[in-house]
Structures are given as C-alpha cells and as structure tokens.
Subunit: 206 residues, 2 copies
Amino acid sequence: MTAKNIDKSTEEKIITAARKVFTEKGYAATRTRDIAEVAGINLALLNYYFRSKEKLFDLIMMENLHQFMAVVKEIVNDQNTSLDKKLESIAANYIDLLTEQPNLPLFILTEMRHHPQKLVMNMDVKKTLQGSALMKQLAIAAKEGKGVAQHPLHLIMNLMGMIIFPFIASPILLAIGDINDNEFKQLMLERKKLIPIWIKAILKTS
Amino acid sequence: MTAKNIDKSTEEKIITAARKVFTEKGYAATRTRDIAEVAGINLALLNYYFRSKEKLFDLIMMENLHQFMAVVKEIVNDQNTSLDKKLESIAANYIDLLTEQPNLPLFILTEMRHHPQKLVMNMDVKKTLQGSALMKQLAIAAKEGKGVAQHPLHLIMNLMGMIIFPFIASPILLAIGDINDNEFKQLMLERKKLIPIWIKAILKTS
DNA sequence: GTCTATATTCTGATAGAC
DNA sequence: GTCTATCAGAATATAGAC
C-alpha cells in the first residue's frame, strides 16, 4: 500500500491499482493478484467489488479510451481557432498527457487489436472527427498547397505518428540516442513546438 | 492444418504456427495449445521439439527482431547512396515489409517493453545506427537547413513514426477514414513516395 | 467489508503406449 | 516421432468465518 492509498476508499484503491497494472502490462499479462497486492488489499475483495477480472478491465479500458479521446474532442470542433492553433493544441496536450502516462498508447493499440469487440471507440473517434472543423480546415490547407491534395488520412497519420510513436518506442530511442529519461522528456518538450511547424511544412508540399 | 503445412517438417510446422500466433497475440495471451492446433499437431509434440513455451517464444522473438532490423541494416551503412536514396529505400522497404507483416511492430514494441531482459536488440540497433553513413548524412542535412539544427533523434522519430504508426493504428484509421483494407494498402503505397519528400521538407525547417 | 481457506478452471509440461 | 492421458502449478473466483 503506497502513500497514495491513504484516504482512499477500498474501491478507489482497487481502481487505482488496476489502472496502473493493466495499463502497464495489458490484460493477458496481468494477474488479479498483482492488482490486489498493489492496492494493498486481499484478492477476495477485488472480486467482491468488481465480480471479475474482465469487468474491472472493461472499466479501465473505458477510462483510458476516454482520457485519450478527451484531448482531441475539445479541440477538434472549435470553430473559433485557426488550423495552426489546433495543431499546436493537439501536439501540446497529447505530449503533456503522454509524458504523464507513457503507457497509454501501447495499451490502447494493443488491447484494441486483441479485443475488437470492446471497440466502442471506433464510432466515437469517427463521430468526433468526421465533418469536424479540423477536417474542413485540413482540406482547405491541402488545397492551398502546391498541387495535388493528399488524402486527409495522411495528415492524421503524420500528426499522430509524430506525437505518439516516440512514446511507444521510447526504450529503443533511449538506447539509440544514448539519452536518459530527462533528456527524452526535453526532446518531447521541443516537439510540442516543432511538430506543428513540421506539419505545416508537409502541407505545403502537397 | 492449412495447405501451407503440406511438405513441411513437423518442426517447421510448429515454427510457422508459433510465428503466427505469438506475433498476433503476444507472449502472455498465447497458449501453447493454440500453436499446436494451428500447426495441426499435438501439444505434446511442441514440448518434444522445443522443451518450453518460452524457448519457442525466444526463437520467434529473435526471428522477428532480425527481420525488422534487416531492412535498415543493409541501407544505413551504404557509403555510395545519397541521403535521398536512403530515405526512399527505408520507407519503401519498411512499408513493403509491414504490408506483409502488419503485426510486427506492435509485437516488437510490446514484448520489448514487457521483457527488457530479452533485449539483445538495443545494442544491435545502437551499433547499426551510431556513426553510420545515414547519421552523418542527416547531421549534414540538418546543418544545411535554415538555422538551428535539431537533435538527430527527431528525424528518426519522424521517419519511423510516419512509416510504422499507420500499421500500428490501422484499425482506428480504417474507421476514421471509412476505408477498407485495400484502400489502406493503397495509401501505404502512396506513402512510399511521400514520406521521403515530407522528411526533406522537415529537414529544411530546421 | 475484509479476511482465510478452498473450489474450479486453465495451462504448461510430462509419462508412457504405440 | 507422434499420440492419449494425466500431472502439477497457476490463476480466477467463491464460501464462509469474523
């Protein structure tokens, strides 16, 4: 039981522990015993509160998906901000989020692939993006480029790839670049400013 | 037992099945029974040939790492090709590889995080890249830009992110873009040409 | 609500016949 | 080499005392 657990209800302790363990190790590699231990409670209590490993996992999965979507939801449909501002907000907010929770993307991408049944998210992200202010602004920007407009998905792939990939691949990147965790965080800070610039440079090539 | 298994030795059948199941589901979610079933043989035979789940996994892990590294190894240290050509080769070769084996990156990134002990690769990729012809050419290109040279890791992150991320996130991207598998492959084909162009545009902003 | 003890199911691995 | 049957241990879940 860590200091964080003081003053928390048992249910909250279990959820906090489950969030940590599931998000780090994924569903299959997680044992309910690990969660109970991290929560500082007995294994039986976990089932008393949540009935099963799967039900507890579903809760964490929803939480994580929601957290991941929240960043983009509030930005994408703002009619009053420019494309530039939107790119800056998305990059900055995601990098802040992932710096705090670096395991989030690998968790979501892995579990989404392994349990496509649980994919409430697809429709969610689809609804959020399709016909949004951002997509319209992207289409306009693409046309203002040199010539052939690229498929808007290319932009999404580039933007999200540049933001998310470093966190997914951080162990390799730390090794390649001979840098430590703090230097990595510093690079991510730089990327908050750089990614929007790079994306705009890319838009001009189309 | 699929058609592919005809004319294969038992050992090869098991390896082929293990490659498929491990790479799709990861170590923890894979049951040796699944592998045996896909191989069309009995569970006992698996242990007869490979002694344990872990030993069989280690083999597949090595295979996959090797396959993933092979692409970059032969390109990165070629003294006779320009930076442009190297970028083009890396993008084209990786996109070809990942179109055939879309689960490769998620497998490697996940298992690498969960079993850092098995990380023969870190030193491997490090050795391959550090001081390579590619890194020198990148450093030169960065200096020829507008002003402040960025950390070379930024370029690696951007290049690999743009190449790999779409394959990792393909389920979401298919949903967002309302496209099917073939349209996705078409987009990936386009990216073979586009990514080098985009990377060069990014280099000019630094 | 919380614990200990136990039931139940699953899974990796082996024994032994052929 | 290959199979069936089975074991041993692990992991989820529950029973029942407090």
